[in-house]
Symmetry: C2
Subunit: 141 residues, 2 copies
């Protein structure tokens, strides 16, 4: 119900961590251990972020990820779309036939406007507004 997913949380934590690592690579295991995130799940999230061009992967031993973009040019909206797909506050799309209410639905189009405004808002929140927390020195190996 109007909730962000864990994947988004993980992505934000990971980006936060990477932004403190700067040029040096951060590997998945390291991040997973620090934040207590299931390794495989975090791996998937990072793969997705890499695919979408937010981070760059470095394969092989001593490999890992580095940020491809500055956190202040990535928006929360972009990040959500990258991981979860298009943001849809209201489930029924225009051409959708599966919804039984489609025929007499009085609310679809007004809700679209609200959706648009929320998306608009999310597209104006940059990641660095969220990722400004310190990473404890002793953990940022």
């Amino acid at each position: 119900m109007l909730k962000l997913t864990k994947k988004i949380d993980y992505a934000l934590m990971a980006i936060n961590f990477m932004s403190f690592k700067g040029e040096s690579v951060a590997n998945t295991r390291n991040i997973a251990e620090i934040y207590n995130i299931p390794l495989e799940l975090l791996a998937k999230v990072l793969q997705r972020l890499a695919k979408k061009g937010f981070i760059v992967s470095q394969n092989g031993p001593k490999g890992g990820y580095t940020l491809a973009k500055d956190p202040n040019v990535i928006t929360l909206g972009e990040l959500i779309r990258a991981i979860e797909g298009p943001i849809q506050i209201v489930h029924c799309t225009e051409g959708d036939t599966s919804c039984l209410q489609t025929a007499r639905c009085t609310i679809r189009s007004p809700l679209r406007k609200i959706e648009h405004k929320i998306v608009d808002f999310l597209d104006n929140v940059t990641i660095d507004q969220i990722c400004s927390e310190e990473v404890p020195e002793e953990l940022a190996v």
Copy 2:
């Protein structure tokens, strides 16, 4: 993922319908048939709305519901809270111990601010901005 529930949809449709009925009562079955909503589910939603004081119930035959408030003083935020409980974009509350990331979570409090802004927005959208659609005359029995 950041989606409104069907219950909210149903509530909006019902309120829309009732606002066109004016003083005369609208019964659950009637609304359910028109909009193709599962009767029992709609009933529950309306009971919830009645309990929260948005609509007034009239028991017995010829009974039903009438609006207790003008749609232009009810906000979407209120409606969502009435039906689904408090709006939480981010799952983990402050005292929550169940989340494994709590210890080193860097994103909880920044996300709270975003949540607050969205809630603020929803609290400034009135229902009549959504419920402005016509109800076909032949159906509004």
